[in-house]
């Protein structure tokens, strides 16, 4: 089965976004827009890889898997705002992801880049 470049990129980015969102939530509870702002700030020039259209489905998927938990709290405009918080299972998943990425980065450095 052949995978074109865009598909490969999408797979890599999808795996990375899970970890990015979980890492932001690992620092404290946050809501959709707040998570978006934080990740965009951290990614700098690569901010385009996370779009709003991707973020909410991703958050809902993480919620469905039990990696994050959600609750409502009044926002600054008087309307309710949905906050997310990482669960214990989510923390374990993030730790595993970080280990995986470190391993991949190590292989890339040693084998592909020859450093």
């Amino acid at each position: 089965m052949r995978m074109d470049k865009n598909q490969t990129d999408a797979q890599i980015i999808k795996g990375l976004l899970d970890a990015l969102v979980l890492r932001v939530l690992g620092e404290g509870d946050n809501y959709g827009f707040g998570i978006m702002e934080r990740i965009s700030h951290d990614l700098g020039d690569d901010a385009g890889m996370l779009r709003e259209a991707t973020l909410y489905p991703l958050l809902h998927r993480l919620e469905e898997k039990g990696l994050v938990d959600a609750y409502w709290r009044p926002g600054d405009r008087g309307t309710d705002r949905k906050y997310y918080r990482i669960t214990r299972q989510g923390r374990l998943h993030l730790e595993q992801r970080i280990r995986d990425w470190r391993k991949v980065a190590g292989i890339l450095k040693r084998v592909v880049l020859g450093e």
């Binding site: 489905p57 809902h60 938990d69 309307t79 949905k82």
Partner: protein, 336 residues
């Protein structure tokens, strides 16, 4: 299409609470809503989050010098196509729908298979009726659970009240249609147990009556045991909570109420902390929260607060807040 129309009831039009008053944002929200599944209540949960995001994105655009219309347009463009967003919500609902089917139908089929298998061995013996009664009880429990899960409010998790209740005085309860569904299920269950008990009694008193053909006298103790269990459940299981100073009231399905002061709350937690991964498969188990408190008699009680109850989050936050405040202080003697 039929399923979509069916699942959008009650309240097929876009809920007003989800709108912002901005023409461009509202057009986006209406378009998005038209592609969602679920009742008004279910859709509002999804729409509120998107509305909040759009409003903040618009405010950010305005703070960067864009005029109102340009800021709104940028916010909706960045959000992507409504269809892309809605596809995910539909996928979540579809997955939950099949999970409900699995929860109710698969064990039901296994149960009926077991009954059919046992029939030749039990025919003619009074155990046949006992097995039938037990399987009926299991079937009722499954139907009740499936009914609770099927109600669309369950499908997207946490319940929320429209608007803002007073911080110190509000009710934590199920949405009304769900309360009605649960009440009807309980009433039907109790009525069927009573009918079985009555027919069994007639069979016991008059062995030659027609009742004897349908239900064995064994049904009398079985029905009595089921009734006692149901009464205990109705007496203990909370139907709603009323939060008010200086604590909250636990109201059970049987209508009994118990006052609990905030000071007697000793723990707040999530069920999934102590459950296995296998049970986390059930949304109820995964997000179920508990509050432990010490009652007037000095006994420790655990109440389950389901996330699909209206204002459940607010209630849990209040309990956690009071627990933090009371940390380190001794639990007061409730009898004092």
């Amino acid at each position: 299409m039929f399923l979509k129309r069916l699942l959008r009831l009650p309240g097929s039009s876009c809920p007003d609470e989800a709108l912002t008053g901005d023409e461009i944002l509202d057009a986006y929200i209406r378009d998005f809503d038209s592609r969602l599944l679920g009742s008004k209540y279910v859709r509002l949960v999804t729409l509120s989050e998107i509305r909040d995001h759009l409003e903040q994105a618009k405010a950010l655009g305005a703070s960067q010098g864009l005029d109102e219309r340009a800021a709104s347009r940028r916010a909706t463009t960045a959000m992507g196509s409504p269809e892309e967003q809605a596809r995910e919500q539909r996928a979540v609902l579809r997955a939950r729908f099949w999970r409900i089917v699995a929860v109710s139908v698969v064990p039901g089929a296994i149960m009926m298979g077991a009954y059919e298998f046992l029939m030749p061995f039990l025919r003619g013996s009074s155990l046949h009726n006992v097995a039938f009664a037990l399987l009926s009880g299991v079937w009722f429990a499954l139907s009740f659970s499936a009914g609770v899960f099927v109600w669309p409010g369950r499908w997207l998790g946490e319940g929320r009240e429209l608007g803002h209740p007073a911080e110190t005085d509000f009710n934590v309860t199920y949405p009304k249609p769900m309360l009605v569904l649960q009440s009807v299920s309980i009433t039907l269950g109790v009525a069927s147990i009573m009918v079985c008990g009555a027919v069994g009694t007639i069979g016991l008193l008059r062995p030659d009556s027609q009742a004897r053909q349908f239900v064995s006298p064994w049904m009398v103790p079985v029905s009595l045991a089921l009734l006692v269990l149901t009464a205990c459940g109705l007496f203990r299981e909370p139907r709603s909570f009323r939060v008010r100073l200086p604590g909250f009231e636990v109201i059970t399905w049987g209508g009994f109420a118990a006052d609990v002061s905030w000071q007697s709350v000793v723990a707040v937690g999530t069920f999934n902390e102590s459950l296995t991964r296998a049970l986390n498969w059930l949304p109820l188990m995964r997000s179920g929260k508990y509050i432990d408190y010490v009652s007037v008699s000095g006994r420790k009680h655990r109440i389950m607060v389901r996330r699909d109850m209206l204002n459940a989050d607010r209630f849990l936050q209040a309990a956690e807040g009071h627990l933090q405040q009371n940390r380190g202080k001794p639990v007061p003697d409730p009898r004092a």
